[in-house]
Symmetry: C2
Subunit: 451 residues, 2 copies
């Protein structure tokens, strides 16, 4: 759907992992060549985009050489074998410094890989570097970290969104074909939507969080960022250590709901129209309007806030006491507020989360998929905290989270797909499925052709 | 071990449920006769002890008549069939008003029986009335409730301890042979120890809490109060809906640990010596001193406090906002403090609870049973809040909870056995077993003869 290119693009722009995997096996390319291409693209584009925060060419190339040797010996580890992959810097890697985007961890090298990274390595993936995360993933704008702000490949004056800021910028600009992100309120889907990538937040607990720096353990997820649903699915299979079932023809017509515009907060009308148009192209013009979510939106937001704040402060209490000056001021201000959540409010939020999960399970008895814009606005300027939408000044952080965070609270699988452009910037269509229906969601979308 | 009687005793003093069950089956007594004996005893003793807060003779006698009719038809519901049982007033009964000890629920009649009450009825037990609970079970002294204070059968100037104040007084004085209590920090074992009953707190979740007014859901337990381990075991089998396995001869010698005196706080030396003597009589003089608990006592107390306060405020937040004046002032003051626990502190307390549970599991790899005084002092005067112990003024509420509450935090089964007297008042020996070893604990004690 993207007919135009970002201003600056790298080697992997427009390439699919499936094609690359085929070329690796015919010997037309090598993993070393692909990894060198990634490193060259990063060298050229990163001064503009600030997507990567840690690189180590010898480390990356050594992995690539090993992948080539194994393939040459006939040991094929699967579709990711030899493919360059970027990893968000809040995910532990034993061979790259991992800062979690914070001065608290400047120069820190974890002793072990995160379990999800280990799985990528076991599947033959080549980790080419670490991508910028908003400090401790505690922010949806991607512009506050030890390493500064990431910049949007479509217009570097604009934010990428976050917190998986660098991963989305790296994939969209073609520095790498695949990246790992994390998503606690939308942190995979928001930068994917604002930069024009496919970003998938799986069902809660589908991908293990061992070795991922926690933000909010009730809401944290790991997921892939890619250029196509097919590629995202390949990486998800590896991350979740399960093979998606082969495609099963769906009986009858899909029941697809369009979440009534504005249900979760203000939407830029042009974004809404562009996303709805894309939804109709994919699913036909029989979308049913789903009106019941507006009534629960405020409660869901409040509940998610209570859980996230209490859990985030639990993680950072000692740092807030011992070295508060090392936090970015905006992140520190959020943590100061987080301290105030009371124990009884947290208990009630846990109970409310279960109720919302039950309500969504009921709703999905009537629908196969629900659709909405992933993010109700286009990427604002880096560091912007207010934007004017439909003659209202709205808070950027609240706005970008508003349509994604309900699916962290309820743990449902949700994906952001590129849905064309508004005023020259990408917008995303969010597609949500019932809990545990990750495979089916990815299969339906991989095989859905615009009508 | 009690060679003397309380000042005032009722019909069931010194009678065992096993004997009564035999007499019911030979026709020597009827359930109606036993129930009438209970009502007569209550009528005579209750003005002094204030153990029962709700009675309804026709309701009780109708249950008894039904029990007699069933037995006459040859339908024997088991060992509790026709036996009078008292129920603590924080446990729902559809046929008796249930106030939870609070002016907030004056005259309240639940629509349904609690599940544990339903099980007693299905086993043929006759509910003869409701016993005094400290308001909302939120206090270990048994002297603050809508219905005032309960009084100790051994000296009515003294407190019973609580919160299952009336249940312990009713059983010890012989008003009824069995009663249900609840235990969140010691509320079954404390009044059992201070009044001279057998009080058993089962493993966490061994008895369902449906229909029991919550105090702190991580710590709440339901358990029996009786005059012997054998009787407590009969009621526990019914409450937990499982039959204890028949006694298995224990291979070798029991490994019994004595928790080093003072580990969980100050102890009256005379109480300590009397309880230790009883422990030696029961288990021989090979008790091993367990010294490692003193180091974790403060942390366990702090953890339990965080959980209990946050969870208690969750239960009462609306009442505290809308009608705080209806609470007893002391209970209200506790709730005001409870509001202050932070969400992140609650999360850490949950994690700490799991660690203490794991530590106790390790400790019980070295021991079959651990022993301590149930309560480190004898019953103080009703309403006393400080007592002088070993030339120190100590807080009564903290003291009576100090040796029982660690086993609520860790969820281990713990029983208080009568262990003789100190200065004319009963003291209790607490026996603790590994998680899930409820049946074995009860069997070991039922068959343990003084050496």
């Amino acid at each position: 759907m993207n007919q135009v290119k970002p201003a600056h693009v790298g080697y992997f722009f427009g390439l699919s992992v499936v094609e690359l995997a085929a070329q690796l096996r015919t010997g037309r390319v090598t993993s070393v060549a692909l990894t060198q291409a990634a490193l060259d693209s990063i060298e050229r584009l990163n001064p503009t985009l600030n997507a990567f925060v840690q690189l180590d060419a010898p480390v990356a190339l050594a992995q690539a050489r090993k992948a080539d040797e194994l393939l040459a010996q006939g040991r094929d580890l699967g579709p990711l074998h030899g493919i360059p992959v970027a990893v968000k810097d809040n995910i532990d890697t034993s061979d790259y410094i991992t800062t979690y985007g914070s001065a608290h961890f400047e120069g820190f090298r974890p002793r072990r890989d995160a379990l999800c990274v280990q799985r990528v390595r076991e599947a033959g993936g080549v980790i080419v570097g670490k991508t910028l995360t908003h400090e401790f993933a505690y922010g949806p704008t991607g512009d506050r970290s030890l390493q500064g702000a990431a910049h949007n490949p479509w217009d570097p004056r604009c934010m990428t969104g976050g917190s998986s800021a660098g991963s989305a910028a790296a994939v969209v600009s073609g520095m790498v074909p695949l990246a790992l992100g994390t998503d606690t309120g939308g942190s995979v889907r928001i930068p994917s939507a604002l930069c024009g990538a496919v970003g998938f937040k799986p069902s809660y607990a589908a991908v293990p969080l061992d070795g991922v720096f926690p933000l909010s353990t009730s809401l944290d997820h790991v997921g892939p960022i890619a250029n196509s649903v097919e590629d995202a699915r390949l990486l998800f299979e590896v991350l979740s250590a399960r093979a998606c079932a082969p495609t099963i023809p769906e009986p009858g017509t899909l029941r697809v709901g369009w979440i009534a515009s504005g249900s979760f907060g203000p939407v830029d009308t042009a974004v809404d129209q562009q996303v709805y148009l894309t939804a109709q192209q994919l699913f036909g013009d029989t979308l049913q309007e789903v009106t019941e979510l507006a009534a629960v939106a405020a409660g869901m937001k409040e509940t998610l806030g209570m859980l996230q704040r209490a859990e985030a402060f639990d993680v950072h209490a000692e740092r807030m006491q011992q070295a508060p000056q090392l936090f970015d001021p905006e992140v520190r201000a959020r943590l100061e507020l987080s301290q105030e959540v009371r124990g009884w409010q947290y208990i009630r939020a846990q109970a409310a989360q279960q109720q919302y999960q039950a309500q969504m399970a009921s709703l999905f008895e009537c629908y196969d998929l629900l659709l909405s814009p992933s993010v109700p606005i286009i990427a604002p300027a880096v560091n912007a905290r207010e934007v004017r939408v439909e003659e209202q000044d709205i808070d950027v952080r609240a706005a970008v989270l508003s349509y994604t965070s309900p699916w962290n609270l309820t743990g449902l699988p949700a994906i952001s797909l590129p849905a064309g452009q508004v005023r020259g910037m990408p917008v995303g269509l969010q597609v949500i499925a019932a809990a545990g229906e990750d495979d089916r969601l990815l299969q339906l979308l991989a095989h859905q052709k615009p009508t």
